[in-house]
Symmetry: C2
Subunit: 204 residues, 2 copies
C-alpha cells in the first residue's frame, strides 16, 4: 500500500515536471503560475508544495529534468548517427535532427536553458547555478566530439576544442533566439551550415 | 500652461520607459509588475494607463526605447573609434567598449532584445514583431561594417556580409547569456576575440 502511494507520488511529481517544462518553454518562468501548473497536472494548488518547497525549487528541478531528458535525446541521436558516419560528422547530423523537431513544432519554444538564462539568472541564484551546470555538461559533450573531429583532421586545430564548443553553443543559442523572433527555423539551419561547412573546417 | 503640462507628461513617460527598461533587463518582462514600475516612477499605479494602454503596449515602447538609445550609443562608439582606425576595426573596438560596460556593471543585465526574445516571443505577437524589427536594424549596421571590412580585404569574402552579421549577432547573444549564467564577462570577451581574430579573417 505504501509502495503504491510512493509510486503515485512519483508519478505526480513526474507530471508536474513535464507540465512545468512545457509551460516554462512557452511562457517563461514568471509567465507561468503555480495554479496553472497544478491544474494541468490535475492536483489542487496547495498540493504543489508537497512536491516542491517553492517555485524556485521547482525551477531548479525542471532545469535538471530538461537537461536529463534532452541529454538522453542528444546521446541517442549521436549514437544512431555515429553508426552511419564518424563521431564528429554525427554531431552535425544530430543538430539538424533537433532543428527538424523545432521546424515541425507549431510553438517555437527554443532551448529552456537559453530562455531561462536571459530571464532569471539575476533573480534566482539557485536557478542560475543549475543553468551553469547544465550548459557546462552540454559544452563538454560538444568539446569531446569536436576534439575527435580535430584528431580526424576534419575540424580546425588552431583553437582548443573547448573554445570551438563555446562558439557552437553561442551560435546555436543566438540562432534559436532568432528562430523565436522570426517564427522560422531558417536562422538555425543557416547557423548550422555556417558552423559545419565554414567556421569549424580546417584552415587549408 | 498646456505646454508645461505636455512637457510634464512627456517627462513622466520618459521616466516610465527608463524604469521599465532597467527592471525588464534585471527581472524580465513577467517578473516586473506595473505597481513596481509606477512606484519607481513616482506615479499612482492607475496613472500608468494614461501613458500606455497595456503592459504589452509598454513592452513594445520599451523595446523601441532600448533600440533607440543603444543604437545611439553604438553609433557614437563607432564614430569615435572610426576616427582612430578603419571602419571595420572600429566595430571590434565598439564591441569591446560595450563589454567593458557589462564588466563594470554589478548586475549582468545582458541585452534586452535577447532576454525578451527568449521570454515573450510566444506570448506577445506585438513584442515579437518589435524585437524582429530591432534585431534586423542591428544586423544591418553589422553587415554594413563587415562589408567595408570585406572591401578592405580585412574580412573573409567567401560568405555574404549579411551572413557574417548573423554569425556575429548569434555569438554575441549566446555569449551574453553565458555572461549572465557565469556572472562574468569572460565568455563575451572570448567570443569577440574568436570572431575578430579568427572566424571573420580572410582565408589565406
Amino acid at each position: 500500500m505504501a509502495r503504491k502511494k510512493s509510486a503515485d507520488l512519483e508519478k505526480t511529481k513526474q507530471t508536474l515536471l513535464e507540465v512545468g517544462l512545457s509551460l516554462f518553454q512557452e511562457k517563461g518562468f514568471n509567465g507561468t503560475g503555480i495554479q496553472e501548473i497544478a491544474t494541468l497536472a490535475d492536483i489542487p494548488k496547495g498540493s504543489f508544495y508537497n512536491y516542491f518547497s517553492s517555485k524556485e525549487d521547482f525551477g531548479v528541478a525542471v532545469i535538471h529534468y530538461y537537461t536529463e531528458t534532452s541529454m538522453e535525446e542528444w546521446t541517442n541521436l549521436l549514437d544512431t548517427a555515429t553508426q552511419q558516419e564518424d563521431s564528429y560528422k554525427a554531431l552535425g547530423t544530430a543538430f539538424l535532427a533537433i532543428t527538424e523537431k523545432h521546424r515541425c513544432a507549431e510553438i517555437k519554444k527554443g532551448c529552456l536553458l537559453g530562455n531561462l538564462a536571459g530571464e532569471i539568472s539575476e533573480a534566482s541564484e539557485d536557478c542560475r547555478k543549475a543553468l551553469q551546470q547544465s550548459v557546462n555538461e552540454y559544452k563538454d559533450i560538444l568539446a569531446q566530439r569536436l576534439l575527435i573531429g580535430q584528431q580526424l583532421g576534419k575540424v580546425r586545430s588552431d583553437l582548443p576544442a573547448q573554445c570551438l564548443a563555446d562558439l557552437v553553443w553561442d551560435c546555436w543559442q543566438g540562432s534559436l533566439l532568432r528562430m523565436k523572433i522570426e517564427k522560422s527555423v531558417e536562422p538555425v539551419n543557416k547557423a548550422i551550415e555556417l558552423l559545419f561547412h565554414y567556421m569549424l573546417l580546417p584552415i587549408k
